[in-house]
Amino acid sequence: MRSLQHAVSIALGIVSIFLLASCGSGNREFVLESIPERPTLSGWPERLHQRIESAELQAMSGGNPVESLVKLARLYHANGFYEEASQCYQGLITLQSKEAKWPHMLAEILSSYGKLEDALPYRELVMKLDPEYIPAMVRLGDVYLKQNKANEAEKVYTRVLKQDRDNPYAQLGLARLDIASGDLENAQQRLEAATRKTSLRIGSDLLATVYEKRGLNSLAAAIRGRAKSSGTFTDIPDTWLFEIYFESFNTYQMAVAAGMADQSGDSAACIRLLNQAIQLSPRDAYLHFQLGLVYLRIGIDYQALKSFEETAKLDPKFSDAWFQLAQLKSKEGDIVAATQTIATGLYHNPDSPSLRLVNSERLNAIGDLSGSIKEAETAIELRPEEADSYASLAALYFSSEQTAIGVELMKKALERESLHPFALSTMAFYSISTGQEKDARQYIRKARLQPRLPVGDLKHLETSFRQKFGKMP
């Protein structure tokens, strides 16, 4: 029996060696099948050509073909070659069947086009392979939501909340389901939780609507009054996806990804990616400017200054860079430098309304009213559709007691933006003080529709109206 077993053992050993060899060869064959036809790369940096070629060669003859396919997938994905990346991911899903990243990446590509039906099986696979990766779970919930599968969406979002109790994206998804089913009270609670967690970034837009629907108008106004347009929503940070952009040679897509990271609160990643983009394209003024804005937002003014200086140096016609530089120099208290910056900026950009307006403010500050008025008038000529320029010029006339001109200009501001808060409050106050009851009432009525007008200002107007006319507006 032992000898038989021995003989069989040797025979099967040979078979298994053959099998292993054939399987290994099959592995590479399979990788080869998954390598897409190389797209036209004309116009792309030579380094991308080289890296793709190298990854292909490694996949074909190197020691670790699967790892080379991963490299190839990332290169294609990061540079916007989505069909090629999809082919690589398809192969990787089979080759590394326990790795959740690959179906996630493929699902992301499909979803980016709106191919949710195609993405769904991959989303469900990710959930099975890595039930703890929350961005993928939220995405799955979103897919169900957008496919009108409310029960499935609710289950997934609820599962997210079991792992991450306050996850704002799951709360938002559940709130949408509540709104659809008419349960506004529950929706309110969920959205309040999401906004608490994210300092009003996620969910506040819908929360304002829910407050209004429930008659809680002052709470809605408090949200709406925070900004002319907040647009605070940002997508759920997805580290698996974000990391591929470091493989990119498309600096615009890198800038988009960096911007997304910044909006999600990850300024460090944003700065890292922008710096990498700048290395690839050091003369791209927009990249330097975007970097400057990030530094400015996180309060590193000296770095912001450097970035804006670089922007202006690379493209002197980048008027916003001069504007930001002037603002920063004013903030530092260096009025001479600010003045010089505005002058240089205007030399290169005589048609910049924002530089004209900032120069108008500067001239007004030093008592040159006529110069200030002239600059504001130029700003209006350059951008006649904007209410702000009219309101600024009107304010100059009001301050110099040329009220009639100021009134006409404020009316023009309101023609362009009927709820312009400064123009509304000024005109309401002017109408009260000149005894024009009907006009004053109308302006106050409109002012009540403007949540950006501070509550104290509105109350002051109402009190002034009552004192003047002896009744409520």
């Binding site: 099967l12 399987c23 980016s112 191919k115 709406r224 347009s229 647009g231 897509q253 988009v256 023609e415």
Partner: protein, 438 residues
């Protein structure tokens, strides 16, 4: 199956160590020799290939008044406004707050007239006889301020035609979230035209319908409270004899909603398209019947280039697609192809081969570089596959298109409107008529 059998045989015959080794080896290679070839997903058209140039097929000529500064043509539509038998164009100039009329005074000859001023940032015009007096009135959606603003500064106007193309303005909605679209339809079956309204807003927005309660009076009914509605399209999508509403919603939602009508103005909503990509950038939707099966389909673009960068630009997923109406309110998504900065999808049979093609414009493209497509024709090959053909690289910044037959030749002309709100401010146009190359 062979691999599994061999593994089973080995496990049965050998000791545990060998079994473990073999099992590990087989798992380690992922049973790859036995794996099927990968199934490719439905091909996504490549950016750089499969497209051809068909330049000079149509040639643009400037039309309308001369301009200074940067034109902001936000919408155009073809209509025989004065019903003289010659097709005209009506449109909106958002920066100048005007609604204009490009009147075809003689065949192929156009004069531009201003129909209404101080229209608060008009962005959509539609012509319909609202008061049943035999002439065409105009429905106007106005945003007041085009760039981000969440104030309640939107308007819906009806410009009432006195029959001589002099218009009286009726304000139907004011102090509402910025309005991006308004269309007419009889939603409650009372024989009077009601209105479907899309309020883009910014942080808050809404889709609603306005029930006609008097000649110029309406009662509002909310359908959905989401920001970012771009367009609403009215049609009988489920074939039950009443008019339904479809709405394209952008911002972070990126969805298309269908509101099915029970014939009495009671709507049931559902999502018929969605992307989980918050940067999908929905930019326009129009009605069509691409497969000519009698059921209204929806064409839509994604190409709004604004995002978290100082410069608006294209994305790899920008493009043109359609939702095929399968009946009973069910739709299937079909991608037509890549078009960076895509806007204004229009159905037309451009080559008059009997198959419906799709035309779309590009507003956000890398205009600093030469040779970026501004007008794209997705030619129907006759089997509902579409070949992308570049019709033009300039004029640039095209936001709105209309296609129609303007003369006796029977060949369609294209009208385009440009929206120059961001650089480069070169090669600027306002309105162009594109006629087929003789």
């Amino acid at each position: 199956m062979l691999c599994r059998s061999l593994k089973l045989l080995l496990i049965m015959l050998f000791d545990r160590r060998f079994e473990t080794f073999m099992t590990a080896a087989l798992i380690g290679i992922g049973l790859s020799a036995c794996k099927p070839a990968p199934e490719l997903v439905e091909p996504i058209l490549k950016k750089s290939e499969k497209r051809s140039e068909t330049l000079n097929y149509y040639n643009p000529e400037p039309v309308g008044r001369s301009f200074e500064g940067q034109p902001w043509i936000s919408h155009i539509a073809t209509i025989d406004l004065d019903q003289d038998g010659r097709l005209d164009v009506v449109g909106c100039e958002a920066k100048d707050d005007e609604v204009f009329w490009l009147r075809q005074s003689a065949e192929g000859s156009f004069e531009e007239l201003t129909l209404a001023e101080k229209m608060n940032g008009p962005v959509h015009v539609d012509a319909v006889d609202m008061d049943k007096d035999g002439d065409l009135d105009l429905l106007i959606a106005s945003m007041s301020v085009i760039f981000p603003n969440n104030d309640r500064i939107g308007f819906v106007y009806i410009l009432e035609n006195d029959g001589k193309q002099t218009f009286k303005r009726h304000t139907i909605l004011e102090n509402v979230m910025r309005v991006s679209d308004v269309r007419a339809g009889d939603f409650n079956g009372d024989g009077e035209l009601d209105l479907a309204v899309g309020q883009f807003g910014y942080d808050q927005g809404r889709i609603l319908w306005l029930e006609r309660t008097g000649l110029w009076k309406f009662k509002s009914h909310d359908l959905l409270d989401l920001s970012g509605t771009v367009h609403v399209c009215v049609a009988d999508y489920d074939g039950d004899g009443d008019e339904d509403i479809a709405a394209q919603v952008s911002q972070q939602w990126e969805e298309i909603h269908l509101f099915l009508n029970d014939g009495r103005g009671n709507f049931t909503g559902k999502t018929i398209f969605g992307s989980t990509n918050e940067d999908f950038a929905s930019s326009g939707m129009s009605l069509g019947d691409l497969n000519q099966d009698g059921r209204p389909d929806l064409l839509f673009t994604n190409g709004d280039g604004f995002g978290p960068t100082p410069l608006p630009g294209s994305r790899p997923w920008h493009g043109v697609q359609w939702l095929e109406n399968l009946g009973s309110g069910n739709f299937e998504y079909r991608r037509l192809g890549y078009l960076p900065g895509a806007y204004s999808p229009v159905q037309c049979d451009l080559d008059q081969d009997g198959n419906m093609d799709v035309l779309a414009a590009s507003c956000f493209n890398d205009w600093f570089q030469p040779k970026h497509e501004s007008l794209m024709w997705f030619r129907n090959n006759g089997d509902m596959t579409f070949s992308p053909r570049i019709l033009a690289y300039e004029p640039t910044h095209l936001l709105t298109l209309a296609v129609d037959v303007f003369d006796d030749s029977g060949k369609p002309w294209i009208v385009s409107g440009a929206f120059h709100a961001w650089p480069p401010y070169e090669k600027m146009t306002r309105l162009s008529i594109w006629k087929p190359h003789p």
